[in-house]
């Protein structure tokens, strides 16, 4: 049981997660942002580590990644920053990023460092299931890290079952087949997709991401899943002045209760 499992065991509805890119807009505010988000009521966080070629991301997160790299963010520095993580933050933390920086860092070493820092899970969009299973799953298990898989409206039922089997905390449902930063798809076909997933009665909770930007889209997502993730919209807040003090109002606007 890691912190994610405990969270999902105790809370089933309206979970709110926030994504942000480490090293953006300033190099050394990674933990300040995490602390502020916890105080404001976020249930868990995804801290992105930047990559030069983020193919699954739209302009907002691309920009934050490039800026973070220009600021000097690296995986080594991020783990340095995370040394005090568990002195300051108690909610579950996931790291999110692309596979190449992890491969260069060493996958086993990455998992160990993440566990030492008190990280609970990892999201690597371009790490395929086959490579995860055959090469890396052992490192994740040894370090009590959850690997989070993505599901899109095009993912087949068989594959969703397999993902459910390999997952041990939650499944990340993409609200559409798109890059990050788009609008929430509210078409009939997308409703069918959520209903189809719900009817499968998966063993893992589901969290919806991509296109969640306000209370309306958050509520919509929570009708079908255990919660939702806000990314690009929050990264945009970080572009503004005095962003740390604006975090409570941001969270309240998305989830008023």
């Amino acid at each position: 049981m890691n912190r994610l499992n405990k969270l999902f065991a105790n809370k089933k509805d309206n979970l709110l997660s926030i994504y942000y890119t480490a090293g953006y807009p300033e190099l050394n505010t990674t933990l300040d942002i995490a602390e502020a988000l916890e105080k404001a009521g976020a249930d868990f966080l995804e801290i992105g580590f930047p990559y030069s070629d983020p193919v699954a991301d739209g302009p907002t997160i691309q920009h934050s990644s490039q800026q973070a790299l220009d600021n000097g963010m690296t995986l080594n520095l991020l783990f340095e920053q995370l040394k005090d993580l568990r002195k300051r933050v108690t909610i579950p933390i996931l790291l999110m990023g692309y596979v190449n920086p992890i491969v260069q860092f060493g996958v086993e070493r990455f998992c160990k460092k993440a566990a030492e820092a008190g990280v609970d899970g990892v999201i690597v969009p371009d790490l395929p299931m086959y490579e995860y299973e055959t090469l890396y799953a052992g490192f994740f298990k040894d370090n009590n890290l959850s690997n989070i898989f993505l599901v899109t409206p095009q993912t087949s039922a068989d594959r969703i079952r397999k993902i459910d089997e390999l997952s041990n905390s939650f499944i990340y449902l993409l609200s559409s087949s798109s890059i990050t930063g788009g609008n929430l798809d509210v078409s009939d076909s997308i409703e069918d997709y959520y209903k189809r997933i719900k009817a499968m009665q998966l063993k893992n909770p589901t969290i919806i991401g991509f296109g969640i930007a306000d209370n309306a889209t958050f509520k919509k997502a929570c009708e079908y899943a255990n919660g939702a993730i806000v990314g690009s919209k929050f990264v945009k807040l970080l572009e503004t002045e005095d962003y740390l003090n604006k975090i409570p109002a941001f969270i309240k606007a998305i989830r008023p209760s």
Binding site: P54, V103, L150
Partner: protein, 393 residues
């Protein structure tokens, strides 16, 4: 084939399909169907006919007499520059448009560096009346302006890639993002032997016509089954893989792949991937790429837009690692000088990409009767501005 891809999409340690879930269904559909489609008799007949009547194949294997005298061996040029649209890129574009039709796709996207693949793709889309969107780095659009105009005349929409280095890798990122957003109706015609499996294998098969012809043609010229050397330039590596393909299992044939050293391998302005790169993941496959210690992709440099890519195809990475092919590099200056020499000795203006392979001739030690095949992958019309500026004509 000993050096071919395995069922999981790997060549030794390299390959695979490192794609986000959003791309998985597209890539999986291709994986399941590509072999049955391209091995189908109807597909083969249409592919062969178009290569013959539309592309103008077989491309000649030209015995370059004055080169041969200069370098003391029998030098043959495989004339891909004479293909319709001016380079080998058309071979793959024809193959993939026929595949896309059979997959029921209504829209084509592509990335392009020098513009040769973009032009080839725009051409086959015009041929088949299919919508075409080409992503091209903003920097490349400026240095290959004639090709941008050609694509537009052929009816394609050219979208500038404005992120990162604004060159080929960024155009590839943008094309992948487009494919994520349009998963059902769109086929992505990747122009080189890169990307997630099955692309490296599929593109290599379409380009393998180069070596299939060359092998027969060499026999007609010399009565010999095999050459001593086969040489080609490598960016992503599609002309090289096409040129090597049917010689891979003939271990006596020395395969030479020439990368772009730019201003010099140690200058900080280079695209010599095997010299400067390490193993990692780029654009969907595990391969060798130029990157920082932190795993960020390094922006490459070459005067040749078609070689200005930070990785190489996974099969090349494998051939490099096991020493089946020799990877070397030549600088901008060496390539341009070789391009001019080709004009003056053989009356052929080569693409600057292909001129890299020609420049390697200067560094080789041949025996008198050695037969050497070099892939002249494209013609130099698109590079006239660069040549003119460099030599001051």
């Amino acid at each position: 084939m000993k050096y071919g891809v395995n069922e999981q999409g790997y060549y030794g340690d390299f390959g695979g399909a490192y794609v986000p879930e959003m791309l998985y269904p597209n890539v999986e559909e291709l994986r399941q169907k590509y072999l049955s489609i391209i091995n189908d008799a109807d597909f083969k007949a249409e592919f062969d006919l178009l290569l013959k009547d539309y592309v103008g194949r077989p491309s000649p294997l030209y015995y370059a007499k004055r080169y041969s005298e200069k370098y003391g061996a029998n030098i043959f040029l495989k004339r891909e520059d004479l293909n319709h649209t001016g380079s080998h890129k058309i071979n793959n574009a024809i193959g993939q448009i026929l595949l896309a039709q059979r997959l029921g796709k209504k829209r084509i996207i592509a990335e392009t560096g020098a513009g040769q693949h973009g032009v080839a793709t725009a051409t086959v889309c015009a041929l088949k009346g299919i919508e075409c969107v080409v992503y091209m780095g903003e920097v490349d659009m400026a240095r290959q302006a004639p090709n941008v105009s050609r694509m537009k005349m052929l009816g394609a929409k050219v979208v500038p890639a404005k992120s990162g280095s604004k060159t080929l890798k960024d155009a590839t990122n943008e094309a992948l993002r487009d494919w994520i957003a349009n998963p059902v109706d769109t086929h992505y015609i990747i122009g080189s032997v890169v990307g997630p499996y099955p692309y490296p294998d599929m593109v290599a098969r379409f380009q393998s016509i180069i070596s299939l012809e060359a092998k027969k043609q060499l026999f007609e010229h010399t009565g010999k089954e095999l050459p001593e050397y086969v040489m080609a330039c490598v960016g992503g590596g599609s002309n090289a893989m096409g040129m090597f393909y049917h010689f891979l299992d003939d271990e006596s044939v020395k395969l030479i792949a020439v990368e772009a050293a730019g201003k010099g391998v140690d200058s900080g302005h280079s695209a010599a991937t095997t010299f400067l790169g390490r193993e990692g993941v780029l654009h969907g496959s595990r391969t060798i790429l130029m990157q920082t210690d932190d795993g960020q992709v390094v922006e490459p440099y070459s005067i040749s837009a078609g070689l200005d890519y930070p990785g190489i195809g996974p099969q090349h990475a494998h051939l490099y690692k096991i020493n089946r092919a020799q990877y070397t590099s030549v600088t901008d200056d060496e390539a341009l000088q070789a391009g001019l020499l080709c004009c003056q000795l053989e009356g052929i203006i080569p693409a600057i990409e292909s001129a890299h392979a020609l420049a390697q001739l200067e560094k080789m030690k041949f025996k008198k009767d050695d037969n050497v095949i070099i892939c002249l992958s494209g013609r130099g019309d698109k590079d006239l501005d660069t040549y003119i500026k460099y030599f001051g004509y």
